[in-house]
């Protein structure tokens, strides 16, 4: 008997418990900018961006993720931001390669739209069929050494967000 049959055979249906449905009563009063700050991102105006990162790059689609290993500052478009936690939804369609927002040293994301919380975020994603997408909240970080927060573990060392909403 295959492992599949074995496992499924051992699972007895339990007394039915209903799925609770959509979550009701979620708070909506969140400030995207405040959340961005909490997750360690920096928010700038288009003019400031010009001054800080004059040499940022927008890159063409590539199948070769390794070719992005030397990218210093990458500029991309986020689909929307989530006010409650500062996360930005990205899909591979808007990325040069799936590894792009991780492998670059610094990341710049433009955000056109903000939703209040994660429930609203997944409502946006109802018909999403992208092969890869992610919520990205701030720069890469770790606190694995004595709980000391260090920014820039393996992914981008900084996240700069420009809000156009």
């Amino acid at each position: 008997m295959s492992a599949r049959e074995q496992i499924l055979g051992k699972i007895e249906p339990l007394a039915e418990i209903k799925h609770p449905g959509a979550f009701q009563g979620a708070s909506e009063d969140f400030d995207f900018k405040a959340s961005l700050e909490l997750v360690g991102a920096r928010m700038v105006s288009p003019e400031e961006l010009e001054r800080i990162f004059p040499n940022r790059q927008r890159l063409e689609k590539t199948l070769d993720g390794l070719s992005l290993a030397e990218v210093e500052v990458l500029e991309i478009d986020g689909a929307f931001g989530v006010a409650e936690n500062g996360a930005i939804w990205l899909t591979e369609e808007a990325l040069p390669h799936r590894v792009a927002p991780f492998i670059c040293q610094h990341l710049v994301i433009h955000v056109q739209k903000i939703v209040p919380n994660m429930h609203a975020a997944y409502e946006e994603l109802t018909n999403q069929t992208t092969g890869f997408g992610l919520f990205l909240a701030g720069p890469s970080k770790t606190a694995d050494i004595e709980q000391s927060l260090v920014i820039g573990a393996h992914g981008a060392r900084s996240l700069t967000v420009v809000i156009h909403a």
Partner: protein, 447 residues
Amino acid sequence: MLSHSEASENFIADAERTDWHDETLWFVRAKRDKASKVLPEWEALREHASQVKDHTLANLGEYLVAFEAKANANGIHVHWAADAAEHNAIVHKIIADQGSKILVKSKSMLTEECHLNDYLAEKGIEVVDTDLGERIVQFRNEAPSHIVLPAIHLKKEDVGETFHKHLGTPKGNKDPQFLTEAARQHLRGHFLASEVAITGVNFAIAETGEFVVCTNEGNADMGAHLAKVHIACMGIEKIIPKRADLAVFLRLLARSATGQLITTYSSHFHKPREGQEMHIVLLDNGRTRQLADPKYKNSLKCIRCAACFNTCPVYRRSGGHSYHQPVAGPIGSILAPNIDKKANADLPFASTLCGSCSNVCPVKINIHEQLWFWRQDLMAAGLAPIGKSIGMKLMAYTLAHPAIYRLGGSLLRRFSGLLNSGLNPWYKQREMPQAPKESFQEWYKKR
């Protein structure tokens, strides 16, 4: 193997370090409190998450089959493994087909449960753990001591020493920023070179066939997106029905774990990228047995946030290694006996049954009650420590027989040295109260 109490004795021998460990984890617990109290709907979220998990477990077979069908349609290869040996063999075959001798792996407690690294090492394949904390403990040939903070038992001096030895960082340098940078450079080389990447899975969605991996460092993504082959390993209990359910779980997970609003990266793997091979291994390894037992099935709701570790007065003062299991703490103490009752018979006793674990659990697992259920099962199965067995029987007998109770009381009052000795395990590290000259009954009769 040392039992939990024996290993704890070694851990607390260094009082200063024990205090540091205790306070550091309590600090994480306090951050969780702060993050949860910002949301007025926190308790409703916990209840909702608990109900979604209850519903999923009640229909687990159906959801697994639905997930498999969707994932297959998305171009992901789905494998089933009944136990750890099958899991390891499946993973090994995928790697061998690719011809790799070295690979990167992000955090996966399931692969720890299966001892995958050791298994692959025997086959001549090196696994490079890429989570910073996991890399540190891997260098030291230790197991992670916490499922979210794998190196929380170490001080920065220890990490400095370890990196000096393995990465050639200057001797004596213990600056976390510097050491993290050294690890970044070291691991980047492995990310760029590895053709196979293994990751864990936080959630798998039956409705869409996608799976979600959460990290703060970005190591899972660095590995998976550069490798030709991505293998994701998950327990069958990681399934949730719908994508929209993620909203509730992602709101709870990071807030419960570290007090963060959300992990830095919550990656949704739906289809392999062009030219990539993607595999998912679904592991049982005792989970169906747990599911069939009404007393313990709830433990399968766990989302591995480790809030119960951070709040546990026993975990904080005994350290993760004392639990001799990949998943330590209160949740580990109710999961481990299901896999091996005899080897883990000590763990359900490593608790004060204070109930704090159940109170912080984001999916409302009745952890402290299950600890108590396990104690009863283990006593009944004759697996409790012999001293405890005899002690409990003696106590039950004494309490049931008033004459013996009175005689025992009067003897102990007269020879209180018996209580203040090695014969009494409770005496260790405690000051026993002075025994009164007479019992209440004796005093009352004299009036």
